[in-house]
């Protein structure tokens, strides 16, 4: 226990880094993912193809491999950034595909009649998507989006292997320094993650039930 209490400061720093990585990457990935989803339902075949190709390639690639490309290949192209920035790029690129799929499934869940009605009163694609479909899709799409953010939070742990000193990296460092308290140290890290994931999961479940009742 002492190993945890003595290093509260290190935990706090790791927690803040994890949180910063999560928030930054979530915002960027949500923006990119929504754009990709709009591309995938658009009337322009090239955009549809590009969106589909992105999602299919990324969702079949491990996040670790995406990290490899960010951390080892980008410097080969003379792009030098901090490890934290590389981590944000890798996590964003990877999760944008899943945000896209979550948004798209929300769009598909809106009744066909809504889109038909929107078109029949003469709305264009952008208008029917922006004024009719997306506002309705938003309510069903929020719980899955929260779940993707939870997955993203957990996946930021992989940044530990690529030079970012977030929670998991703090955990391994403290575990190596306190060989007699490895389990306590790691349990502390687990507690920090649960502090982020469990309340969000509970919130997602609650919203999901409310939307399910409303339908």
């Amino acid at each position: 226990m002492d190993a945890v209490v003595d290093n509260l400061d290190a935990y706090r720093q790791g927690f803040v880094t994890t949180l910063a990585l999560t928030v930054l990457a979530s915002v960027l990935a949500l923006a990119l993912g929504t754009l990709l989803a709009a591309m995938r339902v658009s009337p322009v075949p090239t955009l549809r193809g590009a969106g589909t190709a992105y999602v299919e390639i990324v969702r079949n690639t491990p996040l670790t491999v995406v990290f490899f490309f960010a951390v080892f290949v980008l410097p080969q192209l003379d792009i030098g950034l901090s490890f934290f920035a590389f981590a944000v790029i890798a996590v964003t690129v990877y999760h944008a595909a899943f945000f896209c799929e979550a948004v798209r499934s929300g769009i598909n869940a809106v009744g066909v009649g809504q889109a038909e009605a929107a078109r029949s009163i003469g709305l264009t694609f952008t208008q029917s998507l922006g004024l009719v479909i997306l506002p309705q899709a938003l309510r069903t799409v929020v719980p899955p989006l929260i779940n993707v953010v939870i997955a993203l939070t957990k996946n930021t742990s992989i940044a530990a292997a690529f030079g970012v000193v977030e929670l998991t990296a703090v955990g391994t460092r403290l575990a190596n320094a306190n060989a007699d308290a490895v389990l306590a140290v790691l349990a502390g890290v687990a507690g920090c993650y649960l502090l982020l994931t469990l309340p969000s999961g509970w919130l997602a479940g609650r919203l999901e039930r409310r939307v399910a009742v409303a339908r």
Binding site: V65, F72, F98, A102, S105, P144
Partner: protein, 281 residues
């Protein structure tokens, strides 16, 4: 809703706009790729010998061994996860509250933790308790702890998705709860959750790459070893090759999952849909 409902078939003017937009889009992408290519070329990224490294027999054998190690870990972890997941699902569906409660808490706990942390728990924690554990088993046990919880939920969703009449009919002909589950519910549930299980296998396969972190010589670690041996400039061809291998293997499995999903829905009506979030983690 199919996406085509969102817009009318484009007329001649629309088609011209689409073509113009596509040309601009393609040019934009080409410009970005061009800049990347110019930078690569400046660093010798297109020299033939750089990519010819992929034809080296020893590199190919190294990557093949890595792929075999990846598949071995993934298949063992998948088998164990399905066995443990089935037990967790039955436990959580039990009417005995002293069983269902703790099992539910266990599932939520392990779904809420990063997989890498679970692997580190096994890899660093067990030796601290005096149990020696190889990198292979640390990876497999870590993967099983996480995936059994996810697969348990898929099993549970499969059983809960069946119409209530199935259980009632089973009870009506005098089957006990366990018998109803085994003889009536499970066979139908398995059919419904097979596509979701295949998608989970894709996720699990991707996650074996975390073995890289603890030093298990799977595909990615083998590639890293090769780059460390040959030099950093070979990172582009070798990591590209590794990405292509992952995409080929996982892409075929994803295709199989989608085909199974369509087939099952057409013949039997319903399937358990894998959650997007589970595919990400």
């Amino acid at each position: 809703m199919s996406e085509a409902v969102l817009y009318d078939a484009v007329g001649p003017r629309g088609r011209r706009r689409v073509v113009a937009g596509s040309v601009v889009g393609v040019l934009l992408v080409a410009a970005v790729l061009g800049v990347a290519a110019a930078r690569m070329a400046a660093n010798g990224g297109f020299e033939a010998d750089l990519w010819r490294v992929l034809t080296r027999g020893d590199l190919q054998r190294l990557l093949a061994r890595g792929l075999a190690a990846t598949l071995r870990a993934a298949l063992l972890a998948m088998t164990l996860s399905m066995a443990v997941g089935a037990l967790l699902a039955i436990g959580r569906l039990s009417r005995r509250r002293w069983l269902a409660g703790p099992v539910g808490a266990w599932v939520e706990l392990f779904r809420g933790l990063p997989l890498l942390l679970l692997i580190l728990f096994v890899f660093l924690g067990l030796p601290a308790l005096g149990v020696t554990v190889s990198t292979f088993w640390a990876l497999v046990v870590g993967l099983t702890l996480y995936n059994s919880a996810v697969i348990g939920e898929i099993f549970r969703a499969g059983i809960l998705s069946l119409p209530k009449g199935q259980t009632e009919a089973a009870y009506a002909i005098g089957l006990r709860r366990g018998q109803a589950l085994r003889i009536i519910l499970l066979p139908q549930a398995v059919r419904r959750m097979l596509p979701a299980l295949v998608s989970q296998l894709v996720t699990l396969l991707k996650d074996t790459s975390l073995g890289f972190v603890i030093g298990y010589a799977e595909l990615l670690r083998s590639g890293r070893t090769a780059v460390e041996f040959l030099g950093g400039r070979y990172s582009i061809p070798i990591y590209t090759a590794i990405a292509v291998i992952y995409i080929a293997v996982n892409g075929s499995l994803s295709f199989l999952a989608r085909w199974l999903d369509r087939y099952t829905r057409r013949r039997y009506g319903r399937t358990v849909q894998p959650s997007v979030a589970d595919e990400a983690a």
